[in-house]
């Protein structure tokens, strides 16, 4: 294990002593207390397509007979595919996505995966989050974006430099990719609820309460859980004040679709417009585990992607931020080539990843999966290691050396204009 619990503890203690130096000063101010430094001025928005997206029905190999043979119920007829090259096209509900692709704003990296693929959602998800194919699912350890945050962002002291968003339903559970050693990412599920509330009957006592809370979360301890809770509490106080002050800069004019991804990407736009210093933003769209009755569920999900990406891009253009934001979408695996008897697909292996933004050199990258040369589970054999996509983003977008973060050297795929 590269990073032990003790390492985290050390990081936590270090930060703890920094940020509690004078809690009363820190927390009494209601103004925007942070200089909001963002060292590169660039933002990475990561979109997790949770549950295993059926890449073959997203980016459709419409000239491949094997595709049609394997999917009598689920294959998309060639006539309705939104053709984007001589042999590839998008699902018919993805017209807006296709339009962005045609404008060269989207790169599709085909057939990404990793060696000895694990067909467990939980294991494979952990592998993508930690950029480590040998990781175990259950251990609380560093994620690839957390490691990046430790290297580049922890010194800023900005509790909003790494943000996980939720859609107001559920709880915005922190993805494993964001787990860091030296910083606590802000997890924000709903802007209105992201504030520390005190008794409305006695507003004059509020500062006393906030200060008591801050002090009782500044106790020294050698217990990891205890320290983690304390640091999270202090960062929650800090980041909530900063967020509430900053998000008022945004006025909505672009219409986002009313789905989970649309809600989250609009929140991302609001954070970006607020110049709060966020450099990594993570959002999640769930529901991709389509074992049965896949057709309508998958259509709905792909519609959400297509329309939300489009709205987000238009919004960034309007805000003058389109040059400084890069979006990357991934899923923990693709799905089985052959459909099952439930009009669905079982767990698969490789699949496409997507990158969107003005900085992107649009188009298709990598070879499409070979649908006749499958592994012994009936799944595709990957072509591009997903860590090459991370590596390209780290080096060409976030301008950092990918090797210490990814634990090895990976090919630069060249989808970013430098």
């Amino acid at each position: 294990m590269a990073h032990s619990r003790r390492d985290f503890l050390k990081g936590t203690i270090g930060l703890l002593s920094l940020s509690i130096a004078s809690p009363e000063l820190c927390f009494q101010s209601s103004s925007n207390v942070f200089a909001a430094p963002n060292p590169s001025g660039k933002v990475l928005v990561v979109v997790q397509l949770d549950g295993g997206n059926d890449g073959l029905n997203t980016v459709i190999p419409y000239t491949d007979k094997a595709y049609y043979d394997a999917r009598p119920m689920l294959a998309i007829a060639e006539s309705s595919v939104l053709k984007a090259s001589d042999n590839l096209g998008f699902h018919p509900v993805m017209s807006k996505f296709k339009s962005l692709f045609d404008q060269k704003r989207i790169a599709v990296i085909q057939n990404t995966g990793y060696p000895n693929p694990n067909l467990s959602h939980f294991q494979s998800r952990a592998i993508y989050h930690r950029a480590d194919p040998t990781t175990r699912e259950e251990v609380f350890q560093l994620g690839w974006l957390g490691k990046y945050g430790d290297v580049k962002l922890s010194d800023t002291g900005n509790p909003l430099s790494v943000i996980n968003l939720g859609d107001g339903r559920g709880s915005a559970a922190l993805p494993k990719s964001l787990v860091a050693e030296k910083l606590i990412p802000a997890s924000i599920n709903s802007f209105p609820l992201y504030q520390f509330q005190t008794d409305a009957k006695y507003p004059a006592d509020r500062n006393n309460q906030i200060n008591t809370l801050a002090k009782s979360n500044a106790i020294k301890s050698d217990d990891f859980n205890f320290l983690y809770v304390e640091q999270t509490a202090l960062d929650a106080l800090d980041s909530s004040q900063s967020l509430q002050a900053g998000i008022t800069k945004y006025t909505p004019t672009i219409k986002y679709p009313e789905n989970s991804l649309g809600v989250q990407l609009q929140m991302a736009a609001q954070v970006i417009a607020g110049d709060l210093g966020a450099q990594v933003i993570h959002v999640t769209l769930g529901g991709f585990d389509t074992h049965s009755g896949q057709k309508s569920d998958h259509e709905e999900l792909l519609t959400a992607i297509s329309e939300s990406f489009d709205a987000f891009y238009q919004d960034l253009v309007r805000l003058g931020k389109a040059d400084s934001v890069l979006v990357m979408a991934f899923s923990e695996f693709g799905r089985r080539v052959r459909e099952n008897g439930s009009a669905g697909t079982d767990h698969g292996t490789s699949g496409p990843m997507f990158v969107m933004g003005n900085a992107v050199k649009g188009g298709f990258y990598g070879n499409s999966p070979n649908l006749t040369n499958l592994d012994n589970t009936g799944n595709t054999i990957f072509d591009i290691d997903f860590r090459s996509v991370y590596s390209t983003i780290l080096s060409d977008w976030l301008l950092t050396d990918p090797q210490p973060i990814l634990g090895g050297k990976f090919e630069n795929i060249g989808f970013i204009n430098k």
Binding site: G166, G170, S187, T212, F226
Partner: protein
């Protein structure tokens, strides 16, 4: 028997783990019993009369065809039951065999599954696994009703192997495929909502599963899985880590796994071994687990003797549980909640703090309310220091740092402008400062831990 001292602190620890916390009166009840008898009493809960909880729930007049009322039904059970371990086991199994209403869509079936968990809470794991494999909510949740001969659906077979019994690494992809074939035709009758074996959808052919070959059915798969050392290890470790602490020694798990196998898959035997171990009462175990939102909310309502008016804004409790990260009957996926330290992020923690504020500052009769004055009437506390000590104990906290304790005392004494004043026990101060104090105790880092 255990070496640890038997006192209020250790009893409070035990009841946080085998239940959802305890009031000082409950702690005294178990303390007076002595350690051996108390553990025996907790484990052999069938002999405890729990009919009062049914009366309390009946009075709430819930509509169990509504998810919110269904959740409330369970929350009230957790608060009022006299069989803490049974309810805690149901909570454990709900996370283990995680099934969600968002896909099952029928409250009745979720309730039925919950009662199944109650029935098998400390039962025989092989029988339990078979019952779960035939449970209608589970069959819908993991698509087994569409699992047909010739074109199997792997969803149930995979999760049975990966999450419900052995864990990743103890079976091959071929085992998943073969198990899926064995479960073909295990469906439900949509009208009666009961398990139904559809002969014409079942693959009667020969399968090879975990090294054994035969014309296997789901029963055979469950039988083979239940007796595997990997299952013994997986279940023992999960139980130990849920009830005692993370990352136990391998010898501890080996011992429990051995008990599981020699007792022919008795969960009760494993639990008895855990609860009577020195490790369970060791310092390593104390306060080592992050409270789940349910433990946080249910424990708080219980320890503060909250009144819950379900006709009113009880929805606040449910909404708060959800935004803290845990909607009962609606786990995020089949692997349940990640739990542990992953319960904690800036959003879920703020939502915990705001639940504490909503509860402590609710002066209406609707929803969940507390009566600080009535609680204090059980004590002689009048000075700020004693009031702080009283409420820390009321909330089961025996290890709060001296500095934190002083900070809370200072808060009680503080004037609005932050200057030093002097707390006196007046009704006005109870309404303002004592409610504020309760809010702050529930936000302590200590209180986030079990």
């Amino acid at each position: 028997m255990c070496a640890a001292e038997w006192n209020e602190r250790s009893v409070a620890h035990m009841l946080r783990r085998v239940g959802f916390g305890a009031t000082p009166e409950e702690i005294k009840f178990y303390l007076d019993m002595g350690q051996a008898r108390a553990i025996d009493y907790i484990l052999n809960y069938e002999s405890i009369d729990d009919s009062e909880v049914d009366r309390q729930i009946a009075a709430a007049n819930l509509d169990l065809t509504k998810t919110s009322d269904l959740i409330l039904w369970w929350v009230l059970r957790m608060i009022f039951t006299k069989r803490p371990l049974q309810e805690k086991m149901v909570f454990f199994w709900h996370d283990h065999f995680a099934t969600a209403i968002f896909k099952v869509k029928e409250q009745e079936l979720m309730l039925q599954q919950n009662q199944l968990f109650r029935k098998f809470a400390l039962g025989n794991f092989q029988d339990f696994l078979l019952a779960v494999s035939q449970d209608p909510a589970m069959i819908i949740w993991l698509d087994n009703f569409t699992n047909k001969k010739g074109q199997p659906n792997e969803n149930y077979a995979r999760e049975l192997n990966e999450l419900f019994s052995m864990g990743v690494g103890n079976y091959t992809e071929m085992d998943v495929k073969e198990a899926a074939r064995a479960f073909t035709g295990w469906s439900i009758n949509r009208r009666t909502k009961e398990f139904q074996f559809e002969t014409n959808q079942h693959d009667f052919g020969t399968k090879t599963f975990l090294g054994e070959t035969g014309p296997f059915n789901g029963d055979d798969i469950v039988r083979i899985i239940s007796g595997k050392p990997a299952t013994a290890q997986f279940i023992s470790k999960k139980l130990f880590e849920f009830f005692a602490f993370q990352n136990p020694k391998q010898s501890t798990i080996d011992n429990l796994a051995n008990i599981y196998l020699t007792s022919r898959f008795s969960i009760k035997a494993v639990m008895q071994a855990i609860l009577t171990s020195d490790e369970f009462f060791s310092e390593k175990a104390f306060n080592s687990i992050v409270k789940s939102p349910t433990e946080y909310v249910v424990g708080t309502l219980k320890m503060l003797k909250a009144t819950i008016d379900t006709r009113g804004k009880a929805g606040d409790i449910l909404n708060s549980l959800s935004i803290q990260g845990q909607t009962l009957f609606n786990p995020p996926s089949v692997s349940g909640w990640d739990g542990g330290i992953e319960w904690i992020n800036t959003s879920t923690l703020l939502n915990r703090f705001n639940f504490a504020n909503t509860l402590s500052s609710n002066r209406m009769t609707r929803g969940a309310t507390i009566d600080p004055k009535a609680l204090l009437s059980n004590s002689k506390a009048t000075k700020s220091k004693d009031v702080v000590d009283f409420f820390l104990k009321q909330l089961g906290l025996f290890d709060v740092d001296v500095l934190s304790n002083k900070t809370l005392k200072k808060y009680l004494d503080q004037n609005d402008d932050g200057s030093k004043g002097k707390f006196t026990l007046t009704d006005a101060n109870i309404d303002k400062k004592v409610r504020g104090l309760i809010h702050l105790i529930i936000t302590l880092p200590d209180y986030q831990l079990n």
